[in-house]
Symmetry: C2
Subunit: 417 residues, 2 copies
Amino acid sequence: MTGQKIIQPTNRFRNNAKSVGIGNSFWDMSERNGLAGIVAELHDGILRTEAGHEFVNFSCCSYLDLDSHPKVIQGAIDALRKYGVLDHCIPRSRVQIPALLELEASLGELFAADAISAISASVASAGLLPLIASGHLGNGTRPLMIFDKNCHVSMAQAKPMCADETEVVTSRHHDLDFIEDRCKEYGQVWYICDGSDSLGGYAPVKELAVLQDRYGLQVYYDDSHSTSAFGPRGIGYVRSTIPVLNDRTIVVTTLNKAFGTSGAAILLDGHPHETLRVIERFAGALSYSQPLNTAAVGAGLASAEIHRTDELTALQRRLQDRIALFDARIRTEQSGTTFPIRLVPVDDATVIEAGRRVFEAGFYVSPVFFPIVARGTAGLRVMMRAGHTDEQIRELCAVLAEVGAPSVAQSCEGAGS
Amino acid sequence: MTGQKIIQPTNRFRNNAKSVGIGNSFWDMSERNGLAGIVAELHDGILRTEAGHEFVNFSCCSYLDLDSHPKVIQGAIDALRKYGVLDHCIPRSRVQIPALLELEASLGELFAADAISAISASVASAGLLPLIASGHLGNGTRPLMIFDKNCHVSMAQAKPMCADETEVVTSRHHDLDFIEDRCKEYGQVWYICDGSDSLGGYAPVKELAVLQDRYGLQVYYDDSHSTSAFGPRGIGYVRSTIPVLNDRTIVVTTLNKAFGTSGAAILLDGHPHETLRVIERFAGALSYSQPLNTAAVGAGLASAEIHRTDELTALQRRLQDRIALFDARIRTEQSGTTFPIRLVPVDDATVIEAGRRVFEAGFYVSPVFFPIVARGTAGLRVMMRAGHTDEQIRELCAVLAEVGAPSVAQSCEGAGS
């Protein structure tokens, strides 16, 4: 007889039955309402579906619109011509053409760090976190790894791999007391969290720095959402908030959002040459024969050049103007912060319908919901970009108010009643 | 008092202390001997180091030299100009420009399958294998997952993630009896292996197909090393050996080797639309906002076009001619096969020195060693490409014979003595 054995999953760190079960029905509902699975051509910042509906994307992370900057595109083309290949397929630990080294040297100078490239931030995290678990990025001691409950899934998914190399726990969101208590118990502790998160908030970088000084705590940040958009030369929230000049902090960041290109960078300091070699050789896919392609390298070099000029400062200022314009109209928990993301609270039951009406009015905003956010905290996520016009922001805010978003005027009336 | 807790790792599926400990010393030795960490400019197929040493790369997986094909490079440039961005950063499950869909339609037609793109084969496997574990790519039953002992690390690294969703075991290399026995015990079994492996061999695809028919066994192949180089239209070893027209076989392949571009493709058949949506939404990094960039898409479209012409057949034939020329001179376990990789056996103790002498003579071949291969099976890995000249192959074989490789003439003498 075949097939008698029944498997009981452990589900210590992940549970597809739960996440797919709940998430998929919401995605299906989104798609039935035309808010997911949208295909559209992009021309001059306007998206146009095959059926002819035109809309402005308020859910794109290219916060400074560098993705369509002519110099960035030309940089990609120049590199393709210069190197004559997208990639010369061989692990870089053996032989490499100088493409990645050029980009890493430029990013290292720009962000004042040692920079290692990866094809994505998730690939970087999947490669680095297990090496952290086994003590290979520290003094050899296996650390306790504390993953923040809300850290991006690209980091959270590494928990089972890390748990086979060391002890792994999940903390409540930014629970500094918990982290400090663990620092008292363990010889070495790493805390894994978003530096800037996809729902619009920053990590308590200064408070963590105190624990880093006091206990030798090490922190792994994904700062993808603030790179380029924030700080001098766009060095992002974490590295502009604390001077990071030792081996207790690693920042990983995508180059695919405000930076405007493809791939990711690992920014680290104070590690000896041998440790950097261990990363190159053993950090998962960083050691395979598929690095960032030369188009991404060339685009990255061009974007880094823009970061060194006043043009970046002007783009950052323009982005902040857009954010202020929005905040003057719609009240969110993020109001008044520098972060380009606003989560407009909408009831779980009506979030899809609200998103549909906003889309019909010519604006795409993302309905977010479990498992992306906790139940009862659904909303419309709005991402602003430097390239949005004043008129686009004003019209978006008007339609958001129509579908029930708390407008600033209404809030004032409420406060006075 | 702080730091008293000592952590004992479980090391059920991975052990960095062991793999880094042993592997790193060998990499260091390779680098000290100038056989790793090489940086060189590529011009017309010749690599040149800063110090002026020129060499031909016999360790590059671009088996048909499509990576430097002018049409492929032009395809990348055309797509950058057409789309005007490397990527419009938003998860494709929400909004996408048509770039990926164009490539997937082309690859689907070329390889007669449903095709889903990924930024790398390792990203595809890291996303798909946990969904297989939880039964989401099958009938909902959690399967026993059998990972082949030798399967590429990009698949093996997913074991801890899969083991949190279902039962995971590791089998000896291509152990058909073991697989059949498990099929008798479990309602659903997946076997995970290389279709074509990086040390030069094919999976027992036909024998596995018998088990697939008899027990409903499902097989996940990484066929990266044979795609483009093998089969009509370059469909690779697995899909040219068995007609794959049902949901019991998934082939993942890089587009970065013989195909000559960047990224990867998942080729699958017979899955309903809803399952393809689950993959897009929940297969790890496939659902994030960093897809294949438009340069890779354009290059991929151009390479796919070449695959539809006689030029591909000519390149494949030329590659086989190179392989035959090599086999007529140097005897390896792979002699006489169609596979473009040859592992020239060399003693563990002398493999580095042998590689160094070959490199000095103007050819880079990879010394391979534990943990890439088992102890006692070291060698020089030679990868042939269509673009190598007869003279280059002959000269390489001459120097290989000088450093102790078993030449065909010597073997004949040996047999006669």
